[in-house]
Symmetry: C2
Subunit: 336 residues, 2 copies
């Protein structure tokens, strides 16, 4: 009998690494592929002397990806937002989104139309539109979105490029979506405001700000924070072969989230280890911070250090602790 | 109580039409969108003065889309092939494919790798590669592929353009995949050869031939026959606002499929009303048939007539019958 290895035992990142090895080294096969499978938020295709195209796809399911209180319109919005956030993370302007929808045969037509309206509204909010798709019957509601963007090669932002001395910045708040998820789940009975719930249910991709950042020339690397700040910090540090030193007192946590958490430790846990915020995490050349500020409303949360220094957080009391590589991971479907 | 309308009662094409209305008229929102949702096999994006990009997405599920005897490698091949066939149908050269994979958490890693190898091998056979994707846990194996292609605007082929007097042509055989499906299902106990089974399990997109056809300038409209010849004839005739007169004795049906069917009526039923062949259906200007023949090994199956004459087939005995608008349709998951 052949020994089997369930995917749940190796986890999402290890499986992606194994699959990426199978997919022919993209560049040798197609010289127009600038970045291929497994490398970044999007694949990158060379289309003209000056421009490239970025493409990304994300599959979402009713049970694992959409909190039960989400409306059909919010489900559609979210399915578009996760993809458009990846396009934004590359500094690109979205040019269209495709939507493959699977749902049970007895689903009400009106519900499917509400999902479509949510997708379309999110696409419009990002200056684009739904340009194609597919429908299919399926036991569980499943939505795969694919978004396409365009960016000047000179302005393309990837996860690689951070250098020691750069500043680590965040655009948007951290921990808000996580607080909403806790209020709906583990910490049931606690209340959060509609604005915090919307952070979870209706995340807004930072499409315009990301393009401004890309155009500023100040950014050395970028990604979104959808899997949580800690995991994103580790991914960005790993891609740049650097370390990050982050300061607790600099983290952009909403007052309501601080109050909801009830203690500094719990607030920090929300800020670092919960996902769903869809902010931008990026590094900025030290002499370009003002240029980056001119592009968007950013928060400097730390600085880039040598790889050997790892990814750490300096607490309010001055102690330094490692930030663990954990957050929302697929396959195991847990925060670990 | 609000009255609900299950999607199964209105069917795939009606639902696509309703969703397409919701998605903002693409062109008014993004002038670079040449063709948007619901219009053709692919959406079309303007990228340079001379070239455009075509994009398509397809969601497939274990139970409804993959016959139980398919191997994991064949499942991966099929998931790539359905998308690459849509790219071919526009006359485009594929530049990459993305793969979103959902599977149960206890799935063996080796099985997922075999699916990935199948996708990669099909992509390579079409001169391209898997450039990105997503993985997700899910009760039922689900694969959403998204393929991207590039074509000169002057060579882009769409479903619109057939004119009365054009010749109706097919590249590839009809009824082979349907015979294999029947042998595995309704007509269990009957045998088909490995080559017929491969027509169902390992469909080969006509990537090169389609580009040759596009380059010949002979073709006025084109699509693939994945949903069956009858449905494809109706779709192509509808898009061109024309009718088709097809001849039974011209249909490219393999001898083995004729023998398997056992009667002319049953063979015709297989040829018209079963899907999965992934051939190309196209119309050719009457004075350009030889040019088209120079591009690929085609079969002329009939001619384009006025819209009021509908879509008909002339039987061997000279009688003319309507071809019904039926084939494989999603939502109802039946041939009807």
């Amino acid at each position: 009998m052949t020994k089997t290895t369930p995917v749940s035992t190796i986890g999402e990142r290890a499986l992606i690494a194994r699959l990426s090895k199978i997919f022919t080294t993209a560049r040798s096969c197609s010289p127009e592929i600038i970045l291929g499978a497994g490398a970044d938020d999007c694949a990158v295709i060379d289309i003209t002397d000056k421009d490239c195209l970025v493409v990304t796809t994300d599959m979402l399911h009713r049970r694992t990806d959409f909190p039960s209180r989400m409306s059909p319109w919010q489900i559609g919005w979210m399915a578009a937002a996760v993809n458009l956030s990846d396009i934004a993370a590359m500094g690109a302007r979205p040019v269209g989104i495709l939507s493959a929808l699977g749902f049970p045969a007895d689903t009400d037509v009106g519900l499917v139309e509400d999902i479509a309206r949510g997708m379309d509204d999110c696409a419009k909010a990002c200056g684009t539109t739904v340009i194609g798709g597919d429908i299919d019957t399926h036991d569980e509601l499943t939505i795969t979105g694919t978004a396409i963007g365009r960016v000047k090669k000179s302005e393309l932002l990837t996860r690689c490029g951070a250098q020691a001395g750069d500043m680590v910045c965040v655009m948007g708040c951290v921990g808000s979506a996580g607080a909403a998820l806790r209020a709906l789940g583990d910490w049931k009975g606690t209340q959060v405001s509609d604005s915090i719930l919307r952070a979870l249910f209706e995340p807004v991709p930072h499409t315009t700000d990301a393009q401004e950042l890309a155009g500023s020339g100040a950014v050395s690397s970028m990604m979104d924070t959808s899997d949580g700040l800690a995991l994103s910090l580790h991914d960005l540090a790993g891609a740049g072969a650097v370390g990050f030193k982050v300061y607790e007192d600099a983290l952009p946590i909403k007052d309501e989230v601080l109050a909801f958490a009830g203690s500094a430790d719990k607030a920090l846990d929300l800020a670092l280890y919960t996902g769903g915020d869809f902010g931008l995490l990026f590094t900025v050349r030290p002499d370009m911070v003002e240029a980056a500020r001119g592009a968007c409303d950013l928060t400097v949360i730390g600085k880039v250090v040598g790889r050997d220094m790892g990814v750490t957080i300096t607490r309010m009391n001055g102690t330094s602790l490692p930030i663990y590589r954990k957050g929302y991971l697929q396959l195991t479907n847990t925060v670990k």
